[in-house]
């Protein structure tokens, strides 16, 4: 640790306090608001690097732990820590944040200070979700996050934003209150809100089933899984670009993170019994939602549906464990599915973020997201075309990009579990390629479709920098994912042991 700073608290509170500061002193000082937000984001990112460099990859124990009494009457602690499952997500958050701030630079003209403030606060809260080790603290971060997102979509979003934002809020709020009841029940059983204590407490069969279902509702809405996914296309289409990026790149990951942090280790027997439910829903998401994506005429909607489909890989990868153990007799084989799911989360963060930023760039220039309004964009925006095709390839899971690694590992694991799972999951390679490349073809290639497209300006320096950064991340992770796998290896191994050890 540098200067003995409590790194995790810094990562949470620096952006939150910075965001509040912007809110209070930034009105009518747009330039200040932007530069200050960027400054804080960069500082936060720099502060998060020691998490990676000083991370002990040999242990699955929580690291960088902080623990202070918060509400002693109920054994509630302000306790933080990261392991291999959460640390990459924290870095993903701090990394994405810089791009998010930069992407809004010239686009947002109204109440810039509120916009920047909201995103800063959101960043702190998201990091809080990933590092909280106390159930109530986790829940506070989880729920508080809804407030700035609600404002961001509702205020800076598209024409139907109010409907979308209220739907977003109520769906996610509805999902998470069940998680709260589950926490309270477990507190009542164990006398503690510590997540690590939840992991070790014993629960009866019935209790596990109910808690598992409560968690499933909460996390399924967030991921989102079929059939509670309907808020996501609405929210994405209406949200401003940066809002979509945060939603897709990070907030969806909170759902996946919930499964590995809560569902699998706390209710292993229920997870084993009900894994078919998650797997079936994931397969529907992968296959059916992929088809739905294909018929979209709005680019953002297409990417939103493709997000749901890709997140299906995350959830299926996590719950293949039991089938693989049954087939092969060892949990080693399921490692690849779980790690694939984790890599898919990070990779999807980069790729979906990039896709939404890409659409944002087009939207800023043409003020439409209809695929039919475009054609031959690559002729007028060659650099943009280059990046767009790269990200589209990554989205379709082309080897050499990050999209390939996760999907490939999950598909391998699916075949180990059940041939049919594998076949359906692998179909995404075709469907995903179809909708992504078809969109690319219609938007970028061919002759210049109309005068508007003919006068398009290529990327400016700011946009170029954003795209290039993401391109590097996507390719780097695609070519050399080993460091990421190293970081999570011990924790995933430990998680699989927890997930396969009966609590009955």
């Amino acid at each position: 640790m540098i200067f003995d700073l409590p790194i995790l608290s810094t990562l949470i509170w620096l952006p939150i306090l910075g965001g509040l500061l912007i809110l209070f002193v930034g009105s009518n000082r747009d330039a200040f608001a932007k530069w200050f937000a960027l400054f804080i984001s960069v500082v936060t990112f720099l502060c998060s690097i020691p998490l990676w460099t000083n991370f002990d990859t040999t242990t699955s124990a929580m690291q960088f732990v902080e623990r202070v009494e918060w509400i002693p009457q109920f054994n509630i602690y302000y306790s933080l820590g990261v392991d291999g499952l959460s640390m990459p997500l924290v870095l993903l958050t701090t990394f994405t944040q810089i791009l998010v701030i930069a992407s809004a630079w010239d686009v947002i003209k109204e109440r810039v200070e509120q916009y920047m403030g909201a995103f800063m606060v959101m960043q702190g809260l998201m990091i809080g979700v990933f590092v909280a080790l106390d159930g109530i603290l986790f829940y506070v971060f989880w729920e508080a996050l809804l407030i700035p997102m609600f404002i961001v979509i509702g205020k800076w979003g598209g024409p139907n934003r109010v409907y979308a934002t209220i739907k977003f809020f109520l769906y996610t709020f509805f999902g998470s209150v069940f998680m709260l009841v589950a926490f309270l029940y477990m507190y009542f059983q164990s006398g503690s809100f510590s997540i690590l204590d939840f992991h070790t407490m014993s629960l009866s069969h019935m209790a596990q089933i109910l808690i598992f279902l409560a968690f499933l509702i909460a996390f399924a809405v967030k991921v989102p899984m079929f059939p509670v996914h309907t808020w996501l296309p609405d929210a994405h289409v209406q949200a401003p670009t940066a809002g979509s990026v945060v939603l897709a790149a990070i907030m969806l990951k909170m759902g996946g993170y919930g499964f590995v942090r809560f569902s699998l280790p706390i209710t292993p027997d229920a997870a084993m019994e009900l894994d078919w439910l998650v797997i079936v829903l994931s397969l529907i998401a992968i296959f059916y939602i992929g088809l739905v994506a294909m018929v979209q005429s709005d680019m953002k909607k297409l990417v939103a549906y493709s997000s749901i489909s890709h997140m299906g890989f995350v959830t299926i990868g996590m719950f293949l464990v039991y089938d693989i153990v049954q087939n092969t007799g060892s949990i080693q084989g399921s490692m690849i599915g779980m790690e694939g799911a984790m890599i898919q989360m990070i990779s999807h963060g980069f790729i979906s973020g990039a896709m939404f930023l890409m659409i944002g760039v087009l939207y800023d220039r043409m003020h439409t997201r209809e695929i039919s309004a475009y054609g031959g964009v690559v002729n007028t925006m060659p650099w943009f075309g280059f990046f767009a095709v790269l990200f589209a390839m990554a989205n379709a899971g082309l080897p050499g990009t990050s999209g390939f690694v996760g999907e490939f590992m999950v598909i391998l694991a699916s075949f180990k579990a059940n041939v049919w799972y594998g076949v359906i999951a692998a179909s995404t390679l075709i469907i995903g390629a179809a909708y992504t490349l078809w969109m690319v073809k219609r938007v970028f290639f061919g002759a210049v479709a109309n005068d508007n497209v003919g006068t398009l300006q290529d990327l400016n320096k700011r946009e170029f920098a954003i795209m290039a950064t993401l391109a590097v991340a996507v390719v780097l992770l695609g070519v050399y994912p080993a460091p990421l796998i190293d970081v999570m290896h011990s924790s995933v191994a430990n998680l699989l042991i927890q997930a396969t050890t009966s609590k009955l």
């Binding site: 009457q73 109920f74 506070v140 508080a144 407030i147 404002i151 109520l170």
Partner: protein, 478 residues
């Protein structure tokens, strides 16, 4: 028979309050001709003195006096302190509002003080008569306050409604009291508890008594199905009075519920618990559903208040000290939040525009971003979304019903919480996403009120970040 002079010490705050208020009543007639605000300042000073007296003589032990009719304990002292604090806030908000609406009168404050006295007596009541006495002192003051605006049809109508239904409720309560007395032969809470525990009682009569008592209490709390007066009275009364009746009396009503059911009738837990479960379920549902269609903010807060009562009753259903503490925490938090909500309306009301329609808040973020943010705090705290303190209030009561084995009730409660989130969101939506009808800046009547509104709203956030001291206070007082 020898006469023992009772100890007056435990009742000093009440005695001082009564004396000073009576003096103020006389002084007001003289002052009102010379100095406009003398009564207001005197009122605040009196509350300050009373609050100080409660604070300095904070009792840890339970002390009985006046032949056991009056009790002084930590539970009561905490509630009294909050009654004082909340009343000071109410009067602060009311002053400017009454001036604006051109019916600033000294009586408002003296009546308000008598109401506070009634609440104090209710909180400290330890037999049926004292309880009734306190309830009536408070109710009479409030009836008069609702009717103060003689020129307003709505206000008069709601005063009438309030009075008639209030009298009915009192009748129910008295009827129940008489049965309790008839069955146990005593009006003392602790003796009642002993007699019931001994088993030499007619259980049928007692059960009937409990039913009537619970009905009377539910009336006073505004719980379904005895809630009909709440929206009309809240809506019709001048906002300053709504602010008054919607906040502090809830603490007192909770206190008598606790004293009577928990300290007086613990032996009848099964009887009143099932009644309160029903009332609570109905209140939760009605509070969540009917509120959806309100377009007047005062009515919205009134109906949502019914839902909050449903939540508060969850703590009582748990029927153990932790549950009562959770309910106490809930009622205190609710009162503070309601002060902020009604206070906001009071601060923005102008002559001819009550500023109580949700539509009045359209585009608030453009017209005054700071106040919009404060109102957002209030709404999210009411909805029970962290990090605001309303979240902990809900968590604590839900935790207690889960611990008491009513998990299904907890699930019902969270579902209604989700439904009610919708209408709180609607207010936020109107403020942030709708275009204002006119772009003039909205300002509270005075700078002082701007500070007051901000202070209360930020308190909701700070209490949410650091809920521990208030929770400790509530859990240690029982």
């Amino acid at each position: 028979m020898n006469f023992v002079i009772p100890s007056f010490t435990p009742a000093i705050p009440e005695i001082v309050l009564l004396t000073l208020t009576s003096l103020l009543l006389v002084a007001d007639t003289i002052w009102s001709k010379r100095s406009e605000f003398a009564t207001y300042y005197a009122t605040q000073l009196i509350l300050l003195v009373v609050g100080y007296l409660v604070w300095t003589s904070f009792s840890v032990e339970q002390v009985l006096t006046f032949d056991g009719s009056f009790v002084r304990d930590a539970f009561g002292d905490v509630l009294k302190l909050f009654i004082v604090i909340i009343s000071m806030g109410i009067f602060l908000f009311s002053k400017e509002y009454l001036l604006q609406q051109k019916f600033y009168r000294g009586e408002y404050f003296t009546l308000g003080l008598f109401g506070v006295l009634g609440m104090f007596v209710m909180v400290s009541a330890y037999n049926l008569i004292t309880l009734y006495l306190g309830l009536e002192i408070m109710s009479l003051a409030i009836y008069a306050m609702v009717a103060m605006r003689k020129d307003n049809q709505f206000a008069l109508e709601s005063a009438m409604k309030y009075f008639v239904l209030g009298a009915l409720a009192t009748g129910m309560l008295l009827y129940g009291f008489s049965m309790l007395y008839g069955a146990t032969g005593t009006i003392q809470f602790n003796e009642m508890a002993e007699v019931i525990a001994s088993g030499n009682v007619d259980h049928v009569v007692l059960s009937f008594g409990v039913v009537f008592v619970v009905i009377g209490l539910a009336f006073k709390l505004g719980a379904v199905p005895f809630h009909m007066w709440v929206p009309d009275v809240y809506h019709g009364a001048p906002t300053a009075v709504t602010l008054y009746i919607g906040t502090a009396p809830k603490l007192a009503a909770f206190a008598i519920m606790y004293r009577l059911l928990v300290e007086g009738l613990p032996g009848l837990v099964e009887d009143w618990q099932s009644l309160i479960i029903m009332i609570s379920i109905l209140s939760l549902i009605v509070g969540a559903v009917i509120t959806l269609v309100q377009d007047n903010l005062k009515r919205l807060l009134a109906y949502s208040g019914i839902g909050h009562v449903g939540f508060l009753l969850l703590g009582i259903i748990a029927a153990n000290p932790d549950g009562y503490s959770a309910a106490m925490f809930y009622v205190i938090v609710y009162a503070i939040t309601a002060v902020a909500g009604f206070g906001m309306i009071t601060a923005l009301a102008r002559t001819g525009n009550e500023f109580d329609l949700i539509a009045d808040f359209k585009g608030m973020n453009k017209r005054n971003p700071w106040l919009a943010l404060m109102m957002l705090f209030v709404m999210f705290s009411m909805a029970g979304i962290p990090p605001f303190v309303g979240f902990y209030a809900k968590v604590l009561v839900i935790e207690e019903v889960v611990a008491a084995g009513f998990t299904w009730l907890a699930i019902l409660a969270v579902v209604t919480a989700v439904i009610s989130a919708f209408y709180y969101l609607k207010v936020v939506k109107v403020m942030y996403f709708d275009e204002p009808d006119d772009n003039t800046k909205v300002e509270p009547i005075s700078n002082q009120l701007n500070w007051a509104v901000s202070f209360v709203s930020i308190a909701l956030l700070l209490l949410g970040l650091m809920p521990s001291p208030l929770i400790t206070l509530c859990y240690n007082s029982l």
